[in-house]
Chain length 154, copies 4
């Protein structure tokens, strides 16, 4: 029995991305236009961010005793995905500030590698009780810095 599920992978195919995660379009992701509902790409990118931090052994939320909350996002839609499409969601941390991180994401359809959706998401680490911003832990910062190298803005 395989009790793990590795859905992310290190990749050099689309620099500056260094990591991607796979997701299958489920029927509940579609809408009456016959395509993926535009809001449903956000969970795909959540998934790629979760796998990314799992790979780096650095889940910022749990280690810091805080919550990562969404601060701002922008999304561009290039082509529509459909039921049962296989999506490769590239993800990287583009910038780390004191309390915030900005992710860049891009979803491609496999196997034809057509670009579906790109996004930029900025999250802030907040204290669980006060909801005030708190510093990103050094261990997380170090892990991201080591993985992203010179492409990371600080």
């Amino acid at each position: 029995v395989d009790d793990t599920l590795e859905l992310g992978r290190v990749t050099d195919r689309r620099p500056p991305f260094k990591y991607s995660a796979l997701a299958r379009v489920w029927f509940s992701d579609t809408d009456a236009q016959g395509i993926v509902y535009y809001g449903r790409y956000l969970p795909y990118f959540d998934h790629s961010r979760t796998e990314y931090h799992r790979h780096l052994l650095s889940a910022p939320y749990s280690q810091a005793g805080g919550d990562l909350v969404m601060r701002a996002l922008s999304v561009e839609y290039h082509a529509p995905a459909r039921f049962d499409d296989l999506i490769e969601a590239f993800v990287r941390v583009r910038r780390i500030g004191r309390s915030s991180m900005t992710y860049e994401c891009a979803a491609y359809r496999l196997p034809d590698d057509v670009l579906m959706v790109t996004a930029e998401l900025t999250v802030v680490l907040v204290d669980l009780d006060t909801r005030k911003p708190m510093p990103i832990p050094e261990s997380v910062r170090d892990a991201v810095r080591a993985f992203e190298g010179a492409d990371l803005e600080e």
Copy 2:
């Protein structure tokens, strides 16, 4: 400015139901078959249950210091709703046990009153920390009993 939003109403049109709540089908509720995704009726029924307890001034979760968790449900699908349909979701408490309540629900489309979906849902009140069943508060039981009358099973 109207700062309330009354989406439920007392009704005698479909006994033994005595209450219904209105909901509009949103685009994000639909799927690639062009109809409402079958799992999306559950939030409509959540909504009718919330409005029902608001009307009875008896939200069991908050008053008891516990969580209402789903224990079992069954749903039957009679006809498919579509984007922008207006749904009237009838709801009643059919039975109150020591720690559980069973709701009966029925969703009709307006204005043609076609039956879309029926459901029965059994929830259990559990302690927030131990997750063990705890008694339904007497105030909730009294309010439901007063509203449902002889149709309530205990």
Copy 3:
């Protein structure tokens, strides 16, 4: 029996917005942080856009024989909404191009009028078969122009 459900209203409280729609936060909208999942504001804004066009008697999708598809969006999160909060979602068409419309949206919590989320969404009208952009119908353009007046960019 009331077979309509008016959830939108003309308003002059937050110019240049002239319209808003009400929405209640459902339990299925929340996430494990105890707040509304950040992606769930998009359906609230869909709702406000649907009510807006209903009020203008001008649903662009149906009248044109095309589909309105999302092209780009940006969202900013100011404060977190919670279960059962009442949300007033302001909406306006800020700009109409040949095939596209850009909406500005802002969600406030009632009754304390705290700003939760702002968004800008650009949709494109596409032909159902070819998925190519097609012109926004003149009837829609006229209705929006009449309602938004000098605040509309063209």
Copy 4:
């Protein structure tokens, strides 16, 4: 580059189930009780049914020129899953009628193999235009019969 994504597998660990599919709990699946929203298990079971039919090379919807629509379902909740839990969703066709199929499903958490949720779902194949029931194609019936063997009711 791996352009496939095998999330299902043949198994003999929980007869009469012969197949299971893996799914990771995403953050958007959780609710304000800190657990998976009870309605979100339905997409997990959709996923297991899709992978099951992919394995059998027999997607009934596409081959028949019809739509599989939900007719009835019942779900029982045994224990709550949480964010990032790994779910193994067992699935089998328990019964094939002329136009309908009844699936039995069971979701276990890995690696501790605790039972989360069980479900029974009955779908009907309907003609795309008339929405009337149509016969399950013989090729689908044969594939399911060959895979499920004597456990299949007909």
